[in-house]
Amino acid sequence: MGKLLSNIMTKSPWIVHVNCNSCNGCDIEVLACLTPLYDAERFGVINIGTPKQADIMVVTGSVNNKNIDVLQNIYDQMPEPRAIVAIGACATSGGIFHDCYNVIGGIDKVLPVDVYVPGCCPKPESILDGILKAAGILEEKRKNKSKGVTV
């Protein structure tokens, strides 16, 4: 029981999936994680739609002037401890669209990202790996009671 209590965030990471400005390629791969072939639920990962019950925010696509408020709003609603996983090249640094007129850049220009999963688009195994790494980081945050701040 003691070992369970010191490991609780890694056992049940619930995700909320936010698509900002993505071409939907990475989103299809994220949803493929939840299908029977890759089966994220065996680790306890559930795609909870509401940010109020989620631990990890899985973000695809880059940040532009229109969705910067939406991202901040969803991040604010997540209770502590929380983590962010940036999926794909666009969320990491702007990707192929990094010098478009409306693109600000990757997610880390706005929010504190914990795990980057590069690729265009990354395989579902890599995405699952990133989510489970974020669950481990969540456990550290829960122990240290460190809070996330928006950049």
Binding site: I8, S12, E41, R42, G49, P79, P81
Partner: protein, 286 residues
């Protein structure tokens, strides 16, 4: 002596409920050709939810969840201590009304529509519960569950159509397809999460705990169809549970118009036919 019984019921029921929820997720996963989470996954979810921060939209919304929790525990205690079945259903209804008001108090449009839909579900399953109690009263002459100990035959022999109706509405009560339009359980999103959208952290953990108590309560209602023999009663309860899970995996979600078309014509019709047969043939089992 009775205090010891009460404490045992309060402690053992959520353990059984947690295992039932775990079996539910594992069986659903296997039916969908997946591996599925470990059996104790609902317990891990509960521990994780209790250790999160408490974010609320309305400072009174967790009070309603506390009322829901306490009234479900009261109805479980009354069921196991074999008290008056009509009072048990009233207490259970108060618990669900507290949940609906809790959902509405948050002010979010998702939770509001979820609460409206939950009220429509109540409109469809409350008559069937009342018909079940009336059938039991007509057969035994009393609302008390302890009266069933003196019965000569089990309830299911003379109430078979009401048993079928109760199986139907178990899908509504467990919030599973085809009637999970108010707030689906886990990964099936409907209006984000319907009535539970704005609850977080300990509030949601308390809702999960109350769901474990509620699973045992609903299976306890099905157990009463053959109360005299414990083994056959347990088989009937487990059959009802597996039926709900399998129907969940093979049907899609329906709208509230469909719910009313199916329950208010077929299900209530079957119950009324059964009650008329019991009345005109003057059947009794005590």
């Amino acid at each position: 002596m009775i205090v010891l019984k009460i404490i045992l019921i309060i402690i053992l029921t959520p353990i059984v409920g947690c295992l039932l929820a775990g079996i539910d997720r594992k069986l659903t996963a296997r039916l969908q050709n997946r591996v599925g989470p470990p059996l104790l996954q609902p317990f891990y979810d509960f521990l994780k939810l209790m250790s999160k921060e408490n974010i609320v939209a309305n400072k009174n919304q967790n009070t309603y969840i506390l009322i829901y929790f306490m009234f479900i525990i009261t109805s479980i205690l009354m069921l196991f201590l074999q008290m008056d079945l009509l009072m048990i259903i009233f207490v259970y209804t108060v618990a669900n009304v507290a949940l609906i008001i809790g959902g509405m108090s948050t002010g979010s449009p998702y939770a509001k529509i979820g609460s409206h839909r939950e009220m429509m579900s109540m409109l469809s399953y409350e008559p069937v519960l009342i018909f079940f109690i009336i059938g039991m009263y007509m057969l035994t002459g009393s609302f008390n569950i302890s009266n069933l100990n003196y019965a000569t035959k089990p309830l299911i022999i003379y109430l078979p159509l009401i048993f079928i109706s109760m199986l139907f509405i178990m899908s509504v009560k467990f919030k599973k397809s085809p009637f999970d339009f108010s707030a689906s359980h886990h990964a099936h999103q409907e209006l984000v999460k319907g009535i539970f959208t704005e609850f977080s952290g300990p509030g949601m953990g308390l809702i999960e705990l109350t769901h474990w108590y509620e699973y045992v309560f609903l299976l306890g209602l099905m157990f009463m169809f053959w109360k005299q023999n414990i083994i056959i009663g347990l088989i009937i309860s487990i059959f009802a549970f597996l039926f709900v899970i399998v129907v969940d995996n093979i049907t899609a979600r329906l709208t509230w118009q469909w719910l009313f078309k199916i329950t208010w014509t077929i299900v209530i019709g079957l119950s009324i036919i059964n009650l008329l047969i019991v009345y005109f043939m003057k059947l009794k089992i005590v």
